[in-house]
Amino acid sequence: MLMICYSLYLIHNLVLLRYHLLDCYYIEKSNRMDYVNTRRQAASMRKCLFDQGYLDEQFYQLEDLQDDASPNFVEEVVTLFFRDSLRLMANIDQSLDKCAKDFNKLDVYMQQLKGSCTSIGASKMKTECTVFRDYCRDENIEGCMRSFQKLKREHSVLRQKLESYFQLLRQAGPIECATRPSK
């Protein structure tokens, strides 16, 4: 009689233990899944950016250059790009407002901006820069203004996307962290 009780107790504990372990397993699994999900999300976002033409092969180069020596290289460069391009675009804005006919100056600015875009691999922006420069060459101020508006939109869209992308990457974090139990 006593034996039966005792064994029942043991079995009960075992079952509990098993469930407990299972819980742990599942929790951990979900953590991993989160991590995996995040990573997966980031990857798909990245693929999207390429597929939709926001980024081109140059971006691959940037990623290649990221290594242990410079672990956040891509993000640093991209941040630098957006900061610098904002400055350039402000100059262009000013130039368009004040001396609307100074096409040379506009062209110079746009050349700089285009150079930056190519270095990053910002494909759509680069295309728009070319369009702008064509309008400059033709001295078509209307065209320039239109093109510049479009350029600004492209710029902010790309910025949002890339910021989200980097955020995801940061969330995903390094792979080692994912294996730690959340508890």
Partner: protein
Amino acid sequence: MRVQEGNNRMAGRDQFPIGMRVLAVDDDPVCLKLLDTLLRRCQYHVTTTNQAAKALTLLRENKDMFDLVISDVHMPDMDGFKLLELVGLEMDLPVIMLSANGETKTVMKGITHGACDYLLKPVRLEELKNIWQHVLRRKFTHREKNTNLSADDLESDKLPNANPLQAQGQHGQNSSSDNSGRYSKKRKDQNEPEEEDDGEDNGLDNDDTDPSAQKKPRVVWSVELHRKFVAAVNQLGIDKAVPKRILELMNVDKLTRENVASHLQKYRLYLKRLSAVASQQASLAAAFGARDPSYLRMGMFEGLQSYHPLATSNQIPPSLTSFQATGGSLLNRANPATLGLPGLSPLPNKSLGSNPLNELNKFQLVNLPGNPNHANLLNNQLPNELSFSNITNNALQPRQGAAAAPFHPKPISFENRCLTKAENQALEIPSSSNDIMGRDMKCQSSLYNEESKLLSFGGASQNNARVQWRQDELHESSLLLSSYLDSRVPNNNFNAMADPITIPATPTSMVQGLNGGGLNQRESVATSGMMGSSVNGLTGMTNYDSQMKQRDEYSLGVSRVQGGYGSNGCSLDGLLNSVIKMERDEMSYSDGDMGCDMYPLGACM
């Protein structure tokens, strides 16, 4: 700007191309960062800057700090092409251009300005992995050229200067001179002889003197002799003129093929300079009128003749003769030489040999005292001269430098003599020379003061290009300059030139410092504008460089000029030498003793 010291420079060199030291210049921070990382990935040693001015400063600080320069084409503070030229001229480093713009004409422009490569943005890692070839290639090229040179190691940077003279004469007669083998083609890209020839010049001179019997008396190229020479050359045709045949035609005793060869080289350089200057100075010439070149020249020559007593060697005559050939310009040149020399005062860089120094002093003195008198004379003759004298005066004054003071007494007489003669000769100046004069003036003026660097010619000389004029030319230019210089002359303080980079776009930058009379041949010519700012005495090269930048044509480079000064200014003998040197100077400023070296013709007594 992030600067990484090349601590492991030596280490890097051993494992070339690993550790190759690259200087990257780009105003776009994104691109610069990318370039930096890419280059590091190639295991190069990278220094970056976003300002061309800083880059130049870095390069000038220590010529041996970098192996290669990569520069963007479109930069706000300085045109990439200008930077390219300057680097090529001064440091003779390979430069790679970088741009998002891949139009053929832009690429062509880059190559003609001397870039060894032109990369398109976005630049790829594979492309950067191969850029070391340009460094290596340059090393080999120099090495070949310098095989005969006793001096110089073949380490790349110093190589280019194999033989300034030769380089010039390479087009025609490499064989003609002993040194032909020795001289390396300075830079195919560059039109002007590079100043880099410091080393080479020494080598050249050494080579000239050593092998060809140092004991040989110097050949003095008298007017007569030079006339014969020119006649012979014209008869043969400038392209076909070989020393051997020239010698035969001239039929002069005791003249060796070597003498002729070196004279030919100088002559060629001179011609080249003239043509370059002439084209630019057309307006200037007009301004000056026909004055002077002829009579200046004559005057100079005369002066030189009279100068003989003062001068130990007859270097002047040769130069004069060469001038004669060219017409007035020579005269102009000669003048500066005589006049300018005083101003030359030893160049900071170059060590003036005792001879040169003396000579320089002589010259200096000549100018100083003579200036007032000279000025008068000049005035009559040429405004240039006047200006020149002014300049010289000014130049000289600050320059007083070491030897200047003691020599004063002598120069005056000399100068006066020269001047007088010049006046007499005034009539003879060919109109063409005017051009040259103008140019020379400019050049000379620029040369005039190495230290003062660019005197703004005030539009007199639009030539920026050929600073190469030697003292003689300098003289001429200085004359022109002098008028302008007056305002500028104060520069004598070499240190002044503050802003190398931003020299105003004055057309002619006269080197004010040229006290010496034109060591800065090169410089003076180049900037015609009011380099006023520059006038402040660019200290040495920097200013000069900046001027040069503006000028584009500063083939001589500051370093050269400075070197040249030392040598040029120094000796009366050197006057001629200077003339000749002008040609040579471009190549090699290195030697301090200009006077002697100037004319390897040996003593033609």
